[in-house]
Symmetry: C2
Subunit: 152 residues, 2 copies
């Protein structure tokens, strides 16, 4: 089997996983630090999903790191399908969470600062942007692994 | 090639496509009829995406109907990949639109009726629910066709 960059067990995949985790952490920090986010359902949803994405991405990053540094590729078909399904579900959830957050923060800004100060509104938007980036990387991982599935 | 229910050119696929179109139309009607939806970005986004989903689903429903009633299956690999990519993009967009709409209407309801009356808030929520159902059927179509791709 030829090695596909970005699929499970390659260094590109390791980079994608680390990117997902970093963006998810950034999104959480922008949302949680010193803000009372829990008065809005959409923001709670975002925090929950990002809290799921971080351990998932870090676990798979460890699998990739093991595979890259120990030169022992892990290509079990059953493991791969589980990872694809998980990636898939998480990518859908993080897309839903980030678009909810983006639209709610947009609405809060449109209400002319009666709900949040300009500084905090910007942080909501940044959090949504980080979640979008995390979604994008998660989708990329999922697609690369899906490509690999028929050949493994 | 064995026939997969739900893939392009089967009666199950025809049903899925018609379901998508019906739910998208229902979502549009709940959102647009007698409501000034265009003051909220999320609602405009939903209307745009549902306006894209309807012609797409109806076109593919016609392709399926042709294939079912004329007994002439259309399994060109290039056509199939175009349809999968289109389904994919539309399903992501409709998920984003429906979750945005759901979160914004939730926020409007939480503001105790200062932005919308109870009747209209319920219609926003129904519209989001219909868009979710349309997304779900669109995802199902996309997955069935994806399954078919390696065998065609």
């Amino acid at each position: 089997m030829d090695e596909l960059p970005g699929a499970l067990g390659t260094s590109a995949s390791l980079a994608l996983r680390l990117g997902q985790a970093v963006f998810a952490v950034a999104s959480l920090l922008f949302m949680c630090l010193d803000i009372e986010f829990y008065s809005y359902t959409a923001f709670c949803f975002l925090v929950t999903i990002m809290g799921l994405v971080i351990p998932w991405s870090l676990t798979l990053a460890m699998v990739d790191a093991f595979s890259v540094f120990m030169k022992r590729p892990t290509h079990q078909s059953s493991l791969l399908s589980m990872i694809i399904v998980g990636d898939w579900i998480l990518s859908f959830l993080s897309l839903a969470a980030s678009s909810s957050t983006a639209s709610v923060s947009d609405l809060l800004i449109a209400s002319n600062g009666s709900f949040c100060t300009a500084n905090i509104c910007t942080r909501y938007q940044l959090s949504a942007a980080m979640a979008f980036l995390s979604w994008f990387l998660s989708l990329a991982s999922s697609l690369f692994n899906l490509w690999l599935l028929p050949t493994s």
